[in-house]
Amino acid sequence: MEIARELARKNAAVIFTKCWCCMCHSMKALLYELGASPAVYELDQHVNGAEMEWGLRALGCCPVVPVVFIGGALVGSAQDIISLHVDGSLKHLLINAKAIWL
């Protein structure tokens, strides 16, 4: 259960995806566009994928992918990412976590 959170703390920006998930593709694209280099963990490819997915669901992540962590903290799903991006908060979160620099 803790595997997902452990991994989330290792990098300033972390995104959990599945290889066939196209919304994951969109969120990755957005983070790249902002200059971030998120660590990408594909739940259906990773050796501990099943356990990670279980942990994320336990955190309340629905849909389970895409899920973004910034500075070790859970930010949320595509819906959350877009909302935070529009009001300018996403950029600040990334800067504070040193995921991007101005």
Binding site: C22, H25, S26, M27, L30, L34, A78, V86, D87
Partner: protein, 325 residues
């Protein structure tokens, strides 16, 4: 029971009927008195004729009443349609509706959208009146806030409709042709709308100008990200379907085909999520714009947006009515 008497007409009234019957009886009575059984048969026949005629009149009356009420209903529907057309709502001809269940969902959404648009236009007119009559900020804020939260309604309605018929929303067939020119993921592009508005909103403070420009850039970035996801979806879907092409015949290929169809179905299912996020983006952008601007500026912005879409709809009407060779 057939009406056999040539002189009994369904449009004659009961009195004339009686008179004719009496004449017939008198005629019969004046003839050979010994044919009593024949008289009785004739009497019975005439009574039956009379009954048939009466029933026929009642049926005709019921039919005419039904026609009258249908005609009234038709007039009502025509008026509603005319009103909707005047609002610039595109009413597709019945031939374009799909025959499946999706068709019913699509039609239901079209009707809900038309109702929402009518309410929206009412509120916009109220706002225009308030602005033109130099209403105070307090009054303006109530109307503006109302319009912004009314936008929430259509996003919710679209979300529900996308669950039943995502392709109808994606198609934009519920919008007018000219609007469809600019269709992006089942609606308008917020980034383009903001570009149009920036000129209308002056004077803006430095801070506001920066915020609006940032908002425009953010919404464009989000739009691009969603578009990339959609492209990935298209490519993935194409690859899945192409994977099942090949020499036909073996049972292995049939199993393959079924598996790939199942995968393709799963991919189509994710379309709804893209529509939802596209609408989420529109909704968030609208609300953020409202936060950045003053009440009066928001009022001008909402009027400008509404006027722009009205012009697009008017253009559609002109286009559809244009003379052709």
């Amino acid at each position: 029971m057939e009406d056999t008497s040539p002189r009994t007409d369904t449009s004659t009234d009961a009195d004339t009927e009686d008179k004719m019957l009496r004449d017939q009886l008198q005629g019969i009575g004046a003839s050979d008195g010994s044919d009593k059984s024949r008289d009785q048969k004739t009497l019975r026949r005439l009574a039956q004729n009379r009954e048939a005629a009466r029933k026929s009149r009642l049926r005709k009356k019921a039919y005419v009443q039904q026609l009258e009420s249908s005609r009234m209903k038709l007039t009502q529907l025509e008026q509603e349609l005319q009103r909707a057309r005047q609002q610039g709502i595109f009413i597709s001809s019945s031939g374009e509706q799909s025959q499946s269940n999706g068709g019913n969902g699509a039609l239901a959404f079209d009707v809900e959208y038309a109702r929402w648009l009518e309410e929206h236009n009412k509120r916009i007119n109220e706002l225009r009146g308030a602005v033109n009559s130099h209403a105070g900020d307090g009054e303006l804020r109530i109307i503006v806030d109302g319009i912004v939260s009314h936008y929430d309604d259509i996003f919710r309605i679209k979300g529900d409709a996308a669950k039943t018929d995502v392709f109808h929303i994606l198609s934009g067939m519920w919008k007018t042709p000219a609007e469809r020119c600019f269709l992006w993921l089942g609606g308008f592009r917020s980034s383009e709308l903001l570009k149009l508005l920036i000129n209308q909103l002056e004077p803006l403070t430095e801070q506001q100008l920066l915020a609006i420009n940032n908002l425009q850039q953010s919404s464009q970035q989000a739009e691009d990200a969603l578009s990339q996801g959609m492209e990935a979806l298209q490519q993935s879907l194409a690859e899945t379907l192409a994977g099942s092409l090949g020499p036909t015949g073996s049972s292995g290929n049939v199993a393959n085909y079924m598996g790939q169809m199942a995968m393709a179905m799963g991919k189509l299912g994710t379309l709804e999520g893209f529509i939802r996020q596209a609408d989420n983006l529109r909704q968030q952008t609208l609300q953020q714009m409202h936060r950045i601007l003053t009440t009066r500026q928001s009022a001008r912005a909402l009027l400008a947006i509404s006027d722009y879409f009205s012009r697009l709809r008017a253009l559609s009407s002109l286009w559809l009515a244009r003379p052709r060779e």
